[in-house]
Amino acid sequence: MKPLRRFVMPAMALALFFGTIGVSQATGSWVTSGRQQVAAGTPLGTADLKGWMTLEQAAEGLGMPVADLIGMVGAPADAVTGATAFKEIEAIVPGFSLTTFRAAVQARLDARSKG
């Protein structure tokens, strides 16, 4: 085992750590958020609902009235509007979970398509 210059250790750690991140950024693999541009009118499935989406965006994508979604949230009156993002609802409605909400919306959509 040959001794190395001592600063080789942190230099390699820094280069490999930030180098890997740099390569991922250069190749487009570095994604720090699920936020994407959703073109108006793009149909969405319940699995596409993300925390950053507003109820209005979700309603438009799902083809549902926004009032229905607001009603399903179970928030106090006027606490939630179409401009409220799902992640903000978590602070307004204790126990709100986007995963559970997705399932509830899917059930509503299934019932509507059968009816």
Partner: protein, 302 residues
């Protein structure tokens, strides 16, 4: 009548000569250079994280990452949950997996220098230690047996977090993670004591403990440190001690921020090592403590 010249004591600094430096002066210079470089890197990385957090808090529409998107531990939680439950954790950022991979590569090659040079929470603990020294607060020495037992706390923390992450399929630890609590800056931009108090209590306890015992979080509780201490066994580059060259002066022991008994290391220094190089810079005997690669490194012949 001439006054006798006082004998130099180990603590007195020998006079500086403009030309050749004494061995003691060279060692002091090496320690100073190390401190400057390490603190500069640590502060730069911490500043990057703080800037990301401020942007995330103030420019919510900018897509600036939250600090949990920059934490490699989320990758460990995600991987474990996926392997054990076949489910992916919600709210995990793809970047977290990249940071986890980057850390894995870095550790396999260069040991746990991430902890000593990059981790922002380690930087905060180092700053607290400097504050403690500036205030002349006493050092708390944990008895060796208790210290050895407490170090298993990292694995207990890790097991609890992974168990609860897999059971609940959530980022369960994010509500208590002291790194996230401190660097997310929620306490500054959107303080909500009603929901944040458990996280703030954990943070206060951890910072308080780190004020008493240097890098207490890293030594006894950090779950990522637990993972890295295992992976560290596979590292190519490590700090190694030569028992034949070592004089047993113990000068390398006191500066170690994580309390490793470097002078007692058989060959490679413990995988609890954070690669800060304090021991190497403090060592007065050339060749006793060296950074070396476990695979043969060819050197050009002169």
């Amino acid at each position: 009548m001439s006054r006798p010249t006082p004998l130099p004591t180990p603590r007195s600094r020998p006079p500086r000569s403009p030309g050749k430096l004494t061995a003691y002066q060279r060692r002091l210079k090496a320690i100073g250079a190390l401190h400057h470089r390490r603190y500069a890197v640590q502060l730069a990385v911490a500043a990057l994280v703080v800037v990301a957090a401020v942007r995330h808090q103030r420019e919510s529409s900018s897509g600036a990452p939250s600090v949990d998107a920059l934490c490699p531990f989320g990758a460990v939680e995600s991987l474990w949950t996926w392997l054990t439950t076949d489910h992916l954790l919600p709210k995990i950022h793809p970047s977290t997996m990249i940071v986890g991979l980057a850390l894995l590569i870095s550790v396999l090659v260069a040991g746990n220098a991430f902890c000593g040079w990059i981790c922002p929470f380690g930087t905060v603990q180092d700053l607290l230690h400097r504050v403690k020294r500036a205030l002349h607060l006493p050092d708390v020495t944990v008895p060796a047996r208790l210290d050895r037992a407490l170090r298993y706390g990292r694995f207990v923390t890790l097991a609890i977090i992974l168990g609860l992450s897999a059971t609940t399929v959530t980022l369960w630890f994010s509500g208590f993670d002291p790194y996230l609590t401190l660097f997310s800056l929620h306490w500054l931009f959107a303080p909500d004591l009603a929901t944040m108090w458990p996280a703030l209590v954990v943070l206060a306890v951890v910072l308080g403990a780190s004020l008493l015992v240097e890098r207490a979080w890293c030594r006894y509780l950090c779950p990522l440190g637990g993972v890295l201490s295992v992976l560290g066994h596979l590292s190519i580059v490590r700090i190694r001690r030569s028992p034949t060259a070592c004089t047993g002066c113990n000068l390398c022991v006191k500066p170690c921020p994580v309390g490793i008994d470097v002078a007692a290391a058989a060959s490679a220094v413990s995988t609890d090592c954070i690669g800060c190089l304090e021991c190497v810079a403090s060592c007065p005997k050339g060749g006793a403590l060296v950074v070396s690669a476990a695979i043969p490194v060819r050197r050009r012949s002169a």
